[in-house]
Amino acid sequence: MKSRNGLLTFVGQRWAVLFLCLELVIFSIFGQGFLSLNGIQIVLFYGTSLFLLATAETFVIVTGGIDLSVGFIMGFSAVISAKLVTAMVTAGLAPSTAIILAIIATLAIGMLPGLLSGFLVGRLRVTAFLATFATGGIVYGISLLLSGGGETKGVPDLANVIGNSYLLYWAPGKSLSFFTRPEVARGTRVIEMIPSMLVITAVVVIVAAFVLNRTRFGRHTYAIGGNEDAAVRAGINIRRHYLVIYSLSALFSSLAGIIYMLEYITGKPDAGTSFLLDSIVGVVIGGASLYGGAGTVWGTILGCLILSVLETGLRMAGVPTFDKFIAVGLILILAVLIDQFFPELIHKED
């Protein structure tokens, strides 16, 4: 009896990791070229936007809120950055200067919707769901307006060079170089390792995990999510905290939009729409509670990996991609049911 319980507890506490392993095994068998350097990089490459949006969502969900605007802000930033780069290049700036200036400007502009949501939630006590939904609607409308509903073309090719570069290029036995493709004869096999955009994402995620886990800001975030009244009485300035949390969420989402622009050298309002569902599901699978006060960045990353492996694996196994939505829905329900039925299994310490 005891040992059976022990096994159940073991599985219950680590079901997400075990599920990911199960997925990896299944897709390695059925997926064409899944188990290769390239396959793994495709998983991670698809994951970059998702990691950023879900990290943003983690901060908000830990406070007990929800951010429905992340996908729209991503599309918004993709459009804004593409427009700015194009405009500056047309105005005669060098592509490199234009891209750097556009990135800085977009990050600043991209934070504005977050400030609005944070103001609505913190100051006017509007439900997070509605505040971010309204902000998202406004932002989506503006990006449709700016882009005319289509794609923003005319981004210089340099963006492509940056967005789709790799950290390491290795031509076996010949040369090894960082960030730029080595000058080798045409037809030579060059192994590309670690997309640059993944490096940026990883840095941001590690910083975010550190902030949430190790700093006073992070502890306050958990405190507010656990019990807002108690947090107020403990002297936390919750108005300012909400403002920062939602701005941070918008900032991460903008970064995802900028990365989209660099990778696809275009900006479109719908760039992030399909990631909204996935980002929330990733956070919930990762063990966060929608009631606030629980959740970690690493848990979220694990949840996102499950989704990203699923997406890529299904495609490589030749299953129509739209079956992904069914699978994501079922996994979400499964995750919540496990959480509901075996709370003592999972939250051992509480």
Partner: protein, 363 residues
């Protein structure tokens, strides 16, 4: 002194009346503005167009009203509508179209298609109802899961989002028909179809009144208004949304009731999908970006319901839906790009919730 108090009281009553019905005043104001700025806005045919195109949004918003009053949220309404559309149209096509070999009479095919659409939406409602009421899953997550599954099945049924065609013409004749037709050239009138002998050239000048969908809308409006306002079901919905614990102690079977609320919500969304088949004459999949559920929720909240539960009315939702519908139509006729729809809806929504937050005693 007494006079002074009286004036103050009167003023506060006026303010209260305005505050309680600000959405209605806003709707009237918008109609007045568009009357001046919009070309052909205030014409019989345009008003009928607004009503016609608001039919499905109305049903989705009504569905959402019940759920929101019970302190829940249903994110799946738009996708259940899409699923029902595809299932209904798919069954009709497979039974009717010659290419598929069966070729049953249109009436039988349509009847079976409607049943199939209803069954599909019922399944969604049972799933989210079961998760919310029995397993205590937060409604947001439960319906998000159902959304994912419904969306996947929809894409599957439509081969990745292609419209389902080869449906009988009778569908659009019903869905886009009018109750009353008058042909000025022949001085003839008829019901449900144009008068006999109407030529193609005369169709343009023909007077059409009362779209068939208006009748459907009115029936649902009256039935759901009665259900929410005058029946025990409605009272229990408010009670559960107002205070779940108190409702349990008052002896309400909250599990069964929540189940019914989510099933009702999904069924209404499914009916919206079936009406959509009748209006478009094909199984047109509702794309992800159209955010139907968000507009439905916005309409309910603009109408004055609260996400904290226990508050909301069918008639207020009606006003909320028409604020969005009139705005979309009026902006188009005023020559403004339709993209503003999202922006303006967002702004009105913010105004609605801020008014609700700042003056709770007013409303």
């Amino acid at each position: 002194m007494a006079d002074h108090a009286l004036t103050r009281e009167r003023r506060s009553t006026a303010l209260a009346v305005f505050g309680r019905n600000w959405a209605l005043f806003f709707l009237l104001l918008m109609i007045i503005i568009f009357f001046f700025t919009g070309k052909n806005f205030f014409t019989v045919s345009n008003i009928q167009t607004i009503i016609y195109s608001a039919t499905t949004s109305l049903l989705l918003a009504f569905a959402e009203t019940f759920v929101i009053i019970s302190k829940g949220i249903d994110l799946s309404v738009g996708y259940v509508m899409g699923l029902s559309t595809i299932v209904c149209a798919g069954v009709i096509r497979d039974l009717y179209a010659v290419q598929f070999g069966v070729h049953w009479p249109a009436g039988v095919a349509i009847a079976l298609g409607i049943v199939a659409g209803l069954v599909a939406s019922l399944a969604c409602g049972l799933a989210s109802g079961l998760l919310v009421s029995r397993f205590r899953v937060p409604p947001f997550i439960a319906t998000l899961g159902v959304l994912g599954v419904a969306y996947g099945v929809t894409l599957h049924g439509s081969d990745g989002g292609f419209p389902i065609a080869f449906l009988p013409n009778i569908l659009t004749q019903i869905g886009n028909g009018y109750v009353y037709y008058y042909n000025p050239a022949l001085h003839a009138y008829s019901f449900f179809s144009p008068p006999l002998g109407t030529t193609g050239a005369q169709i343009k000048d023909m007077i059409r009144l009362f779209p068939n969908t208006l009748i459907v809308t009115l029936i649902f409006l009256v039935v759901l208004w009665h259900l929410l306002k005058n029946t025990r079901f409605g009272q229990h919905t408010y009670a559960i949304g107002g205070n779940l614990d108190a409702a349990v102690r008052a002896g309400i079977d909250t599990r069964r009731h929540l189940m019914q609320v989510y099933v009702l919500s999904s069924l209404l969304s499914g009916i919206a999908g079936i009406i959509w088949v009748f209006q478009t004459g094909q199984g047109n999949f509702v794309p992800m970006g159209s955010n139907l559920e968000l507009f439905a929720i916005a309409a309910v909240i603009i109408g004055g319901a609260s996400l904290n539960g226990g508050k909301g009315r069918i008639m207020s939702t009606l006003v909320g839906v028409f604020i969005i519908a009139v705005m979309a139509n009026g902006l188009t006729l005023s020559g403004v790009q339709t993209f503003y729809r999202f922006i303006v809806t967002g702004v009105i929504l913010i105004v609605a919730i801020v008014v609700d937050q700042l003056f709770p005693d007013l409303l």
